[in-house]
């Protein structure tokens, strides 16, 4: 285990794209195991909610571009580690058909201090939404439709 902070700020990206659900507690436990220099862990979990572009959403279907998606997210983690102290980072994104309240995405970042952990976690999540090749379809009782990209999401990413 590296002992000086410069050595461990080169976080190795850990990215999983999967159909299956994930255990956030298990992911947190693995993030905790990032050395005595870690003083802060920030995590974000995104869930399927019942309203989006339309009301009465009953679930989502997520498609991705295999290979490119993993590479784009790994690059975002590398970018985050160049801007902030990032000792460990983990991203999980689910694909396929997801019912209401399912977990969709997990981002976890370990840093020495909370400012870096919050910022890196939020940056990775914001940039993922506008640059990782995923597409969401909302499912309703009346049919299904592809979700449109939001100008507010693009603005958030540009803000970084």
């Amino acid at each position: 285990m590296p002992k000086n902070s410069s050595a461990c700020s080169k976080a190795v990206p850990s990215v999983s794209i999967q159909n299956m659900d994930f255990d956030a507690a298990q992911e947190y436990a693995q993030l905790r195991d990032s050395g005595a220099g870690t003083g802060a862990i920030a995590t974000f979990t995104g869930l399927v909610r019942d309203s989006g572009d339309r009301q009465d959403v009953t679930g989502l279907f997520l498609e991705h571009y295999p290979g490119m998606t993993e590479q784009v997210i790994s690059d975002l983690i590398v970018q985050a580690a160049q801007r902030w102290d990032v000792r460990k980072a983990r991203v999980i994104h689910r694909i396929g058909r997801l019912p209401l309240q399912s977990q969709i995405v997990f981002v976890g970042v370990c840093s020495a201090h909370r400012g870096d952990a919050f910022a890196a976690c939020e940056f990775i999540m914001d940039a993922l939404k506008t640059s990782a090749p995923f597409w969401k379809k909302e499912l309703t009782d009346a049919g299904e439709h592809w979700v449109e990209q939001k100008a507010s999401d693009v603005a958030r990413t540009e803000g970084w």
Partner: protein, 86 residues
């Protein structure tokens, strides 16, 4: 993949509306991604949307690219709608 062709992929709404996931297209020298879109748009019907100014994102060999980016023989060129993950 032959020396003179490239592989085109479509995702999400574009894949559904074009009814096409993969295509092999000629790869003439000096071709850009915009040229390739214009060629595909000439197929008419749903393909015409590729040349109407509606946003189409472009990736070349799985890295984001621009309309003026060159596309060459052997490349994997992907066209898709703005992304909506997370």
């Amino acid at each position: 993949m032959s020396e003179q062709s490239l592989n085109v992929r479509f995702f999400a709404r574009l894949r559904e509306e074009l009814g096409t996931e993969h295509l092999t297209m000629p790869a003439p020298a000096g071709q850009t991604a915009a040229d390739l879109l214009a060629t595909l748009a000439k197929r008419g019907g749903p393909w015409a949307q590729l040349n109407t100014g509606q946003p189409v994102m472009i990736a070349i060999n799985q890295a984001m690219a621009k309309p003026q980016s060159a596309v060459s023989a052997g490349d994997e060129v992907a066209f898709f709608p703005p992304v909506t993950g997370g």
